[in-house]
């Protein structure tokens, strides 16, 4: 689509949640939709129509790449979520996990691809793909990822130790898995990919270690994502970067300037109008109403959602940075709280529409 497309959407006052999960839960059997390409496509299309956006955003289902990766190691889908590598991989397994696999193995990934193909060929919407970021996938492959990353960044552990070796192997296989996923999604029609790196945050990478000269953020986050971005660029696919983790300014700056996504989606720990100074003017900022709290009327009343939406719209206008008002992350279904959540999504949409007539 190209960068200008997103800048025009921002200039036109687009507001939209990442809300496909919410719409999916209006179905009688939502969990079946995840694995049914045509049903998923209809849900994605309905979500986009509902919010009047040309962007057809799939579910933010960040387990799919892990399931597909582990399938190559003969780990079942049922065991994938809790599976962690405990020891370094042998060369044969490493080569296998880094190898080619044109089509994803799990039903959820295949459904996502089928939905992309439908959106791409049967609608006027922009088919957006979705993938976990390489570093965030690494953290899902290890039982104690923060400690392992912290050890690597502290100088307390040698890189050729068992733990150190496993960490870098996991980065290698994660990057390969994410690349396989995005290539497959592009082959099925994705015009942009939203890469989600919530673990690339100060919870996993210590600002103290960075200040002391650790290059972990560079090696674990930036380098693989720069290679991923290059792959998307060469395929003519737009790069959208999402990170709702707690970030420090240099991280935001690195994402905005060096990854240079068409859209940078941030969590509610950031003030977008302050982050505008950290981003080039051709990067649309997306977010970041506190949707993780929408389920609670006590913690996040409708009035507060309206206030924050107004504040965001006004302050982004003041700083003249392109922005699409939306949510800090995927707005997830919460049992018995759907009315509260919908009320707030609707309030955000109405308020933004009123502020940007």
């Amino acid at each position: 689509m190209g960068r200008q497309f997103y800048l025009d959407l921002a200039a036109g006052g687009l507001c939209m949640p990442i809300g496909t999960d919410l719409v999916m839960h209006e179905e009688s059997e939502p969990e079946k939709v995840r694995k049914d390409g045509s049903a998923l496509a209809r849900v994605i299309e309905r979500a986009a129509r509902r919010w009047g956006t040309p962007l057809a955003v799939p579910l933010m289902d960040l387990i799919l790449e892990k399931i597909d990766l582990l399938a190559l190691a003969a780990v079942s889908e049922a065991d994938a979520e809790t599976f962690h590598f405990a020891a370094p991989l042998d060369e044969t397994m490493l080569a296998k996990l880094c190898g080619e696999q044109a089509e994803p193995l799990c039903a959820g990934s295949r459904a996502r691809n089928e939905a992309l193909a439908y959106i791409s060929t049967q609608t006027d919407l922009v088919p957006i793909g979705m993938a976990i970021g390489p570093f965030s996938l690494v953290t899902r492959l290890l039982a104690d990822p923060i400690t392992m990353v912290a050890m690597a960044g502290s100088g307390l552990d040698e890189e050729d130790s068992e733990e150190g070796k496993l960490l870098w192997q996991c980065l290698c296989i994660s990057e390969a898995a994410v690349l396989r996923s995005v290539r497959s999604q592009i082959a099925h029609g994705a015009k942009a990919i939203m890469v989600c790196e919530p673990a690339a945050s100060r919870a996993f990478i210590s600002p103290r270690q960075l200040k002391a000269g650790s290059n972990l953020f560079e090696r674990l986050v930036m380098e693989p994502n720069l290679r991923l971005k290059a792959a998307l660029d060469s395929a003519g696919c737009d790069f959208i970067f999402h990170d709702c983790g707690e970030l420090i300014d240099p991280m935001v700056e690195a994402f905005a300037h060096r990854l240079h996504p068409v859209m940078l989606s941030l969590g509610c720990s950031r003030n977008l109008w302050e982050d505008a100074r950290l981003a080039p003017k051709d990067v649309v900022l997306y977010g970041n109403l506190p949707s993780k709290s929408f389920y609670s009327d006590g913690a996040m009343p409708v009035e507060e959602v309206v206030r924050r939406t107004e504040e965001l719209v006004e302050k982004m206008k003041t700083c003249s940075h392109p922005c699409i008002v939306g949510t800090e992350c995927d707005v997830l279904f919460v049992p018995n709280a759907q009315d509260s959540i919908w009320k707030k999504v609707d309030a955000m949409m109405s308020c933004a529409a009123a502020c940007c007539p």
């Binding site: 979520e81 809790t82 104690d144 990822p145 923060i146 400690t147 990353v149 912290a150 050890m151 960044g153 502290s154 307390l156 100060r202 919870a203 996993f204 990478i205 210590s206 600002p207 103290r208 270690q209 993780k292 709290s293 389920y295 609670s296 006590g298 913690a299 997830l332 279904f333 919460v334 049992p335 018995n336 709280a337």
Partner: protein
């Protein structure tokens, strides 16, 4: 004051190998296990917590310190069991049913251990029945529940209800934590407390015990 400066520093710096070695040296010199806990380990973890509050330390430093503390406890715990000594109080902790995330829960468990508590970790995907059984069998003063997902959060209320039904609710203080959880939610489901992060969980447990 029988503080082992080496052990204190090793924990503060998150160096598990040095913590282990310093503990061996202190024990060989005749320092009592409980003295090592109360005069070196707990003060070190308190300082780690203080540095975290001041944003000089972050989650990775908390975990490294916890890891160092654990390597020390590996030597100390068997001696305490053998001598019949007990920790300050007992905490049962777990990630609620349906939720497979354990990073936050492990961090809280680690900080509580560092704070001198006896921590019974039930793991992930813990059913209300398993919490009830643990409270019955272990007789803890505190139950901590964690959830990362909005969809699994309601299991916290189900667990509290299960404790009530089993007649155990009054015996324990219940704390909750996790990304989607709030103080408001804690009040709504009848929990005794909510902690925003692992470090403040230690202070909250101490406060609840002091007020019990």
């Amino acid at each position: 004051m029988a503080q082992s400066k080496e052990l204190y520093d090793a924990i503060l710096n998150g160096d598990a190998k040095k913590a282990h070695a310093a503990t061996q040296v202190a024990l060989a010199a005749g320092v009592a296990p409980m003295t090592l806990i109360s005069e070196s380990m707990v003060p070190a973890m308190d300082e780690v917590g203080r540095l975290f509050e001041q944003e000089e330390y972050f989650v990775p430093e908390l975990l490294l310190a916890g890891r160092a503390m654990k390597s020390s406890m590996e030597l100390i715990r068997p001696l305490m069991i053998a001598s019949g000594e007990k920790m300050a109080a007992k905490v049962v902790i777990g990630t609620v049913k349906g939720d497979l995330h354990d990073i936050g829960k492990n961090l809280v468990a680690s900080m509580l251990e560092g704070g001198g508590f006896d921590v019974i970790d039930l793991g992930i995907d813990v059913s209300p029945e398993k919490f009830v059984t643990a409270v019955t069998e272990q007789d803890p003063q505190i139950v901590c529940m964690s959830a990362l997902l909005t969809v699994t959060m309601p299991a916290m209320k189900t667990t509290i209800d299960a404790l009530k039904s089993a007649g155990l609710r009054a015996r324990v203080k219940v704390l909750i934590g996790g990304a989607p959880v709030s103080m408001q939610y804690a009040k709504e489901i009848g929990a005794d407390g909510y902690s925003e992060n692992a470090n403040s969980a230690v202070g909250l447990v101490r406060t609840l015990l002091a007020n019990a």
